[in-house]
Symmetry: C2
Subunit: 182 residues, 2 copies
Amino acid sequence: MKIGSVITLLRNATTKHLKKGEILIPAGATGKDVFFIRKGLVRSYYWDNEKLEEITFQLYPEYNIIVNIHSVLFDEPSNFSYQAFEDTKVYKIDYNSMIDLTSNNPDLLEINRRYIGRNAMRQAFKRVESFVFMSPEERYLKYMKDYPNVVNRTPDKYIANVLGITPVSLSRIRNRLATKKK
Amino acid sequence: MKIGSVITLLRNATTKHLKKGEILIPAGATGKDVFFIRKGLVRSYYWDNEKLEEITFQLYPEYNIIVNIHSVLFDEPSNFSYQAFEDTKVYKIDYNSMIDLTSNNPDLLEINRRYIGRNAMRQAFKRVESFVFMSPEERYLKYMKDYPNVVNRTPDKYIANVLGITPVSLSRIRNRLATKKK
DNA sequence: TCCCGTTCTTAACTTTAGTTAATTTTCTCG
DNA sequence: CGAGAAAATTAACTAAAGTTAAGAACGGGA
């Protein structure tokens, strides 16, 4: 990745500061923005009308790219809200402007392909694999290993959501693992 | 999608016939091929060394595109084998040739973006959502609804794998649903 | 059609997860 | 620092899933 290309991107981006708890993208949004998290932590979540509670879908620490998959790739309004989970600084650029920039610039085209499409795809695919092949306990261990910088900044109840289990169940898994070790 | 573009693609593709049971892509393969299933049914599966059995990851009926995500997008050898689950006819084209073709042809570029990247991404993402937000029972009902043409051609044990549960458990879910209905 | 292998179902049992609620611990921010 | 809120743990119970195994049903050749 060439430094000049990055500068081109940054010149076309705006900077946004969010206080902990502020909403970056509200549910229902249709805007096609791409965000780069420079600092902080963002979570995406879904309001479950049956259980009457929020279910956290994913957690994004600094140096991650967020695109609202629903609006940007699927042309639907966003199912999720994206919320700053710590004081957060993001760079924001319109997706279509980004496509325009990248199509005239081989380096940026490569960045686009590599860091947006491929990365999001890889994450989603690996996550499906973890659900198909692994137990909740194994999934938890893997998540801790892969994202320690997320786990130790986030209350367990949100991690439990991401793993597809309840907070109570996660607490028991931790207990089992702790007693097993001895 | 213009018919001319499709013909361009087909002229650069080869046709392959597979008997039921034959392997389309063996585990460990590094080839970057794109397959279009003209007729038949293909499954991808993983050999689980712990459980000493095959776990089916996904089922692809006719008119679906198969790319080996591991080799084509992640530059790793394939983790999965892809096997014809019925007598199957596929069109095959090398991924890089396809990229070359598409980059000089706006229609094909659109096909590429839309049907390969976006579709695979959409599938993977929706599938993660189903694991995070839904119970096995709900997941089964949704799968039946979304892919009836797969379900009624595939033994349940393979469907169970795809849903991340055991065949015994799927059988009980079916039983529960049947008695609930009355 | 009959046979054999695969798949499905059922049962019995063990383990784990969901649910609800009470209690303890930890955070947060005024 | 301290009070109130949020989160984590624990318990008791229910529901569901994993495991193993046995028998029934099914299906695809010969």
